[in-house]
């Protein structure tokens, strides 16, 4: 025994203060990033959170079947068009009734960035006190891998397939995190699964910051099935996404944008794209467009973080 203690337990485990409320056997694909994220959240935030979910890959697990359930959290399973409004209704009633609560809206990029963006944006404008977590797997995976607003340039999906005329998505991805940070909410952050300590800290910051209003976490969560990746590579994909600046890790606390992981010498985006089949067909020219996209966003974020360092978000009028 003594001889075995060559290493030290990773600090991430210190953040997992609560039991996993989910059933051991749930039907997410092997290597699913969403499953890791979903189990992680209540272990950090506590088992008395109320989670709201919409039709998506998470729904078959978040939502029960008849009177039975896959987890012991209180949840509200609802529509993609109104997830943030549902959470609004909950927190406002709890406020009126004096019930302590942590409501976590847990949605995919389809709900957050596309069909449900209107009410997400409205909830942010009203600075509603809950945590909205978007797990971004860059497409509509549960309906069979279709293009979404965050699907990157060039990626093939079943609605942007590789054909003789059109070769994958010919539109650029949207940057949901930056969009949300512009709402002057108390806390916005990006996170991913390779950096779980960073994720845990951000979850805890969000839980604290939600006392002052709306918190948004944009979590990059690969879908090995939809992306044509080896399930074992899920964490490696996240790591490479960070190292190439494809998905930079940052936070905006009270309006101050700050990189939480600085990448000194970013790798070319190809070290990320080569890990999955959805980019297989891309030529060097195509990859350059994606690279330009990444560099533009990095540049933008760099500029914002310099600018915002001088800015302090005014205290919310609701306080």
């Amino acid at each position: 025994m003594a001889e075995k203690n060559k290493g030290r337990l990773t600090k991430v485990l210190d953040y997992l203060k609560y039991d996993d409320p989910f059933s051991k056997g749930v039907s997410f694909c092997p290597g699913c990033g969403l499953e890791l994220l979903l189990r992680f959240i209540p272990r950090v935030l506590g088992n008395d959170i109320i989670i709201t979910g919409t039709p998506s890959c998470s729904a078959p697990v978040l939502l029960g079947q008849n009177k039975q359930s896959w987890h012991t959290l209180s949840y509200f399973g609802t529509l993609m068009t109104g997830a943030a409004a549902n959470a609004t209704g909950l927190v406002r009633y709890y406020k009126k009734a004096g019930i302590d609560n942590t409501v976590v809206c847990f949605n995919g990029d389809g709900t957050a960035n596309d069909i449900g963006f209107g009410n997400l944006s409205g909830a942010a404008e009203r600075n509603e006190p809950f945590i909205y977590i978007c797990y971004d797997n860059e497409g509509y995976m549960n309906t069979g891998i279709q293009k979404s607003g965050t699907t990157p340039y060039g990626a093939t999906t079943t609605t942007t397939p590789y054909g003789t005329v059109h070769k994958g998505k010919n539109l650029r991805r949207m940057n949901l995190g930056v969009k949300m940070a512009m709402n002057k909410i108390p806390y916005t952050a990006t996170a991913t699964l390779s950096d779980l300590e960073d994720l845990a800290k951000k979850l805890l910051k969000a839980k604290k910051a939600k006392e002052r209003g709306f918190c948004f976490l944009h979590v990059f969560a690969p879908c090995p099935t939809g992306w044509g990746a080896n399930p074992a590579d899920t964490i490696e994909i996240c790591r490479q996404a960070v190292k190439t600046n494809y998905f930079p890790l940052w936070e905006a606390e009270n309006g101050k944008i700050r990189m939480t992981k600085t990448v000194k010498k970013p790798k070319p985006v190809s070290s990320y794209t080569k890990l999955m089949k959805k980019f297989n067909h891309m030529t060097d020219a195509d990859l350059q467009i994606l690279q330009d996209d990444v560099e533009y966003e990095t540049c933008l974020l760099g500029g914002l973080s310099v600018l915002e360092a001088e800015c302090q978000l005014p205290v919310s009028a609701q306080d």
């Binding site: 088992n47 008395d48 959170i49 109320i50 709201t52 078959p60 978040l62 939502l63 029960g64 079947q65 008849n66 009177k67 359930s69 012991t72 959290l73 209180s74 949840y75 509200f76 399973g77 609802t78 529509l79 068009t81 109104g82 997830a83 943030a84 409004a85 549902n86 959470a87 609004t88 209704g89 909950l90 406002r92 009633y93 709890y94 406020k95 009126k96 009734a97 019930i99 302590d100 609560n101 942590t102 209107g118 009410n119 944006s121 409205g122 909830a123 404008e125 009203r126």
Partner: protein, 408 residues
């Protein structure tokens, strides 16, 4: 309607204001709404009550109707009393959440200020928005005047939140004709309303979404589970008919105003002919009936106050044995010749003891259902009673439609 003597509680207010004041009196926990003509005044009034501290609710100024319904549905499932209001395209924009609210059995109360909906942009009255959403699984109630708007909203909370019902209720009233109509409305005292609603507190608590209670809402109903929920839903809707009648009775005891529950019957007992209508048109119909009665015409009115669930038992009871029945619809049932209420009532024709039915379509897109039009309807219904040949469907204010039909 029996009107009490003038008292200091009577204020001259619009239908929209009546809805807003009723909502205030019901003391909702959460209100979320988005403006749309002709409903806007409702939420302006509520915002003003909220701003002045008269209304202690969480007011959510949402970015669209869809969010309004989603927010009140969630607040309701969390245990709150809620209110929202919309109209026309707003109701359509929240339609997915309207369905979800019914499916989740969330006792939401809302008012819908009737306005035209499909295809053509028309800022004008018509019940088409109600018809377009009639199968959402909500209880639909329809008001005739400003006082009834006030009273129906109050009655709605008793119906929606009743432990045996647990269904959302939508109170409909005609846009423009009622929303902007100013007339005297008796505003009940807060204590009286509190007393009327206090019955709900003595009932068992409905299931509520609370932190840490391990209860979730929005489960997949699988295998027979979905069927079970649907069956419970339609059973509760059926129960709501008698419940609504009983609530109206109780309301009469407390507020000295009674409407008759599912239907209001106006001079039907000895009538040979009856018009069936709903909403503001009924006031005009009553005034024409008063005139016709003086001439000895035995005509009555059946006013539909509860449209969903469809009060077919009560209708059969009220209409059985009459000679002829004219059904007036302020909306269309696309794909059918006659109006929506007409086509639905037609399904019970064999139970009406030989009464003949005829359909009148009028009042589409602010077209006024005038006294002249009502007289024409009564004349045609009388002709039908006399065995004369009367077209099955008449577009009263649009004779060309009737002519085209005749030519074919």
């Amino acid at each position: 309607m029996n009107t009490t003597a003038i008292s200091s509680n009577i204020q001259v207010i619009t239908g929209n204001a009546a809805a807003a004041i009723a909502a205030k009196l019901a003391r909702p926990d959460v209100v979320a709404a988005y403006p749309i003509t002709p409903q806007t005044e409702v939420i302006e009034q509520i915002s003003s009550f909220h701003a002045s501290g008269e209304m202690d609710c969480e007011l959510i100024t949402v970015e669209g109707e869809n969010s309004a319904m989603n927010a009140v549905m969630a607040a309701s499932l969390a245990g709150g009393r809620v209110f929202t209001a919309s109209s026309s395209w707003g109701l359509v924009f929240m339609y997915d959440a309207v369905l979800a609210t019914a499916g989740a059995r969330a006792p939401v109360v809302m008012v819908n200020v009737n306005r035209e909906t499909p295809g053509i942009i028309a800022v004008s009255s018509g019940q088409q928005d109600m018809i377009s959403t009639r199968d959402a699984g909500w209880i639909f109630l329809i008001a005739e005047n400003c006082q009834e708007i006030m009273d129906l909203v109050l009655q709605s909370y008793r119906l929606a939140e009743d432990y045996d019902i647990q269904l959302p209720v939508m109170v409909h009233y005609d846009g423009f004709f009622l929303s902007y109509l100013s007339e005297g409305v008796e505003i009940p005292a807060q204590e009286t309303v509190d007393q009327f609603l206090s019955v709900l507190e003595s009932q068992p608590k409905r299931t509520m979404l609370r932190p840490g209670e391990k209860l979730g809402v929005g489960t997949h109903g699988i295998l027979g589970g979905y069927m079970e929920l649907r069956h419970k839903h339609v059973t509760a809707m059926e129960r709501s008919k008698a419940k609504f009648d009983a609530i109206d009775q109780e309301f009469a005891d407390i507020f000295s105003r009674s409407y008759g529950g599912q239907l209001e019957e106006y001079l039907t007992e000895d009538a040979d002919m009856v018009l069936v209508g709903s909403g503001s048109m009924c006031g005009t119909i009553k005034s024409v009936i008063d005139e016709q009665r003086e001439k000895g015409v035995r005509i009555g009115l059946v006013k539909i106050r509860m449209y969903r669930p469809f009060p077919h038992q009560a209708l059969v009871k009220a209409l059985k044995g009459k000679k002829a029945i004219g059904v007036v619809d302020r909306s269309l049932a696309f794909g059918f010749d006659g109006g929506p209420i007409y086509t639905e009532l037609k399904a019970f024709e064999t139970k009406l003891g030989g009464a003949k039915l005829v359909s009148f379509i009028d009042g589409i897109a602010n077209t006024d259902i005038t006294k002249t039009n009502v007289k024409q309807m009564i004349q045609m219904t009388a002709d039908l009673a006399d065995g004369k040949d009367v077209p099955e469907v008449t577009w009263v204010s649009y004779p060309k439609a009737n002519k085209d039909k005749g030519e074919k």
